[in-house]
């Protein structure tokens, strides 16, 4: 089971962030004006398990309909009726379309990827992180030692240590809700169905169709991220439809699970240990000092 997050329909309402906090009773961690965008939660952390990124770009996504009137063909029924409400011009309306700058907003709700090869799970020395019967990755808070090893191991910067209790926290994909046959709180709360929960194979199929549709419509920058079971983490339990390169959303372009190199790492360490033993032995053998 997993998530497909279709960022092309995300409206940046942050309902998922709030629903996640509410359901999981995550402590408040401060809403800050970051000064970088309208995003006030910055990134995933111990107390932010869903994070909606806002990306402002000087690019057109397409020709967006900005006037109040809908074309008759849209079924809106002709010109708008004046209700006598106070009104003002749309920004840029005076200058004319040609003078308007390009602008688009990308929004994307990020979450733990529930990797098939999860580095956090591999390196945990206490077995606190485990894989559930749904294929997701969950921390058992009563066992977590707070060693923090999983934090730098995660190639996506998801799991994090909560300062005041010293343990790590992250998205559980609402393990408790799944057990009761409910979908995760974020997916439930998403008003545009940008977050979809379900069987991964089915989601992947749906996602592929969606990308095709967008490409047909001329949005050729649409691509899937994290859906490939042959990628560096063996495919993720949460994958995304993005409209730009992953790094623009704060995602690594080609993450690889760190433990893929571990046999090689151990081998080099073993040779180094033997080198040390041999070298120090030699200091006694060479001549009497």
């Amino acid at each position: 089971m997993g998530f497909f997050t279709d960022t092309s329909v995300c409206i940046g309402c942050k309902a998922c962030e709030v629903a996640c906090k509410e359901w999981n009773m995550i402590p408040e961690d401060g809403l800050n004006f970051t000064g970088m965008s309208y995003d006030n939660s910055e990134g995933l952390s111990a107390d932010t398990w869903r994070h909606v990124a806002f990306i402002e770009q000087r690019l057109p996504l397409g020709e967006q309909e900005t006037s109040g009137a809908r074309p008759a063909s849209a079924g809106g029924g002709g010109a708008p009726v004046d209700l006598g409400m106070p009104s003002f011009d749309l920004p840029g309306a005076q200058t004319g379309e040609a003078e308007r700058g390009d602008f688009r907003w990308l929004m994307s709700s990020d979450v733990c990827k529930h990797c098939t090869h999860a580095a956090c799970l591999d390196v945990c020395p206490t077995g606190s992180l485990f894989r559930t019967e749904y294929g997701t990755v969950v921390v058992q808070e009563d066992i977590c030692n707070g060693c923090g090893y999983c934090v730098p191991a995660c190639p996506y910067g998801v799991i994090d240590k909560r300062e005041d209790d010293g343990r790590v926290w992250k998205c559980t994909l609402c393990y408790d809700r799944l057990g009761d046959g409910l979908e995760p709180a974020c997916a439930k709360a998403c008003p545009t169905d940008s977050i979809q929960f379900g069987d991964l194979d089915e989601l992947r199929e749906r996602a592929a169709g969606r990308v095709e549709r967008l490409h047909e419509e001329g949005i050729t920058s649409a691509r899937l991220y994290g859906d490939d079971p042959d990628d560096g983490v063996g495919g993720a339990g949460a994958f995304f439809l993005l409209l730009d390169e992953p790094e623009v959303y704060g995602l690594p372009p080609d993450p690889v699970v760190t433990t893929r190199d571990l046999p090689d790492i151990w081998k080099h360490a073993g040779v180094a240990a033997l080198t040390l033993l041999a070298g120090l032995t030699a200091t006694f053998v060479r001549r009497r000092g």
């Binding site: 390196v123 995660c154 240590k161 169905d193 949005i219 920058s221 790094e247 790492i265 360490a269 120090l280």
Partner: protein, 354 residues
């Protein structure tokens, strides 16, 4: 609201939001657009925010832990050698040094974890996929050996047991000195992971230099010969391995040369080289020179570990070190991204718009 199936069109299985096409109309391209664009940056990121979450370890705890582990492990090997070749003073100094260092490293670890019971919790499972788990078991085995070796040596009780413990600690010592390299390299931190081939050699070299330094500092000149040679060997290995590591790492080596990490790495090189040369030339003649060189070597080894630690922290804090190498890899492998980038997408849609 994925379960709300009430739409304007009535009850529908299809979910309205999903089929919405944001700005799906084709783009009309205006002349001069390309020049109006901000020139493309070397790499792109989410407002310069790091991709990785920062290592939650305190430098004094974990860099100190790396240093003390190396010192202890290599000291135990020297202690065993000194014991077997009849250098009692050197042996005692190294055994006491090893116990002190390993106790210090356990204190650092426990301080990082928060409370002692958590160290015991580490022994719940035994996982080769976790260097920290392996390390906990190594410490649990090595600690008592080093303790017994030092205690018997200082008190003079149970000499046989003491010799056995000394040899045991000497055999486990190299593993204690080298496992800390996998510990930090088995992470997604670019400047640690990329160096995993050379890092163990940097660490054992640094450990040997520190242990040699300790021997020169604590044992009489007459018995400290092996310690001096260990220091020279270790310093040579450390400096060569560091050099090789930085060359092989490409751009990810930058953090080793900048900021706090850069300063520490430069200090480490100077202290280590000075200590090794001073020890080799003068250590055999003057007690003072021997002690000074020894102290320089120990300080150099500590600087190396703190430098490596901070280089990792610096590399995790800057998204460049995560994004650029991965982008390169993608480009080279040609696996993904023949998908056009956004500006191209806009051009691609031009004819249709015309």
């Amino acid at each position: 609201m994925s379960t709300s199936d009430v739409t304007k069109q009535g009850m529908r299985g299809a979910r309205p939001g999903r089929e919405a096409l944001t700005g799906s109309k084709r783009v009309r391209r205006r002349r001069g657009d390309r020049h109006a664009m901000v020139p493309e940056a070397e790499f792109r990121s989410y407002y310069g925010k790091p991709v990785l979450n920062q290592v939650p370890w305190a430098a004094t705890d974990i860099a100190g832990y790396l240093f003390l582990g190396g010192l202890a492990g290599a000291s135990s090997v020297l202690a065993a050698g000194a014991e077997l070749t009849g250098r009692p003073d050197l042996a005692r100094a190294m055994k006491v040094g090893a116990l002190g260092a390993i106790s210090g490293s356990v204190v650092a670890l426990v301080h990082d974890l928060g409370r002692p019971a958590r160290f015991v919790n580490m022994l719940r499972v035994c996982k080769p996929s976790s260097p920290m788990s392996m390390g906990s078991w190594l410490l649990a085995g090595y600690g008592p050996l080093a303790g017994a070796a030092a205690a018997t040596s200082v008190t003079g009780l149970f000499p046989r047991l003491g010799t056995a413990a000394t040899l045991g600690a000497g055999l486990v010592g190299p593993a204690v000195a080298s496992y800390t390299a996998p510990l930090i390299c088995d992470t997604a931190v670019p400047s640690w992971h990329e160096g995993y081939r050379q890092m163990p050699f940097v660490f054992v070299g640094s450990g040997a230099a520190a242990a040699g330094g300790l021997g020169m500092l604590a044992a009489p000149v007459g018995q400290a010969g092996p310690a001096r040679r260990a220091a020279v060997l270790g310093a040579g290995l450390e400096l060569a391995a560091t050099e090789l590591m930085e060359r092989r790492m490409g751009m990810v080596a930058e953090p080793y040369r900048t900021g706090r990490a850069g300063a520490l790495m430069r200090a480490a090189k100077t202290l280590t080289a000075a200590g090794a040369v001073g020890g080799a030339l003068l250590g055999g003649r003057s007690r003072l020179a021997s002690a000074l060189s020894g102290a320089a070597l120990i300080a150099g080894s500590a600087c190396t570990r703190f430098g490596v630690f901070h280089a990792g922290v610096q590399s995790a804090a800057d998204p460049k070190y995560t994004v650029v190498p991965q982008r390169e890899r993608v480009r080279e492998s040609g696996l993904i991204s023949d998908q056009p980038k956004v500006p191209k997408a806009r051009e691609a849609s031009e004819p249709a718009a015309g």
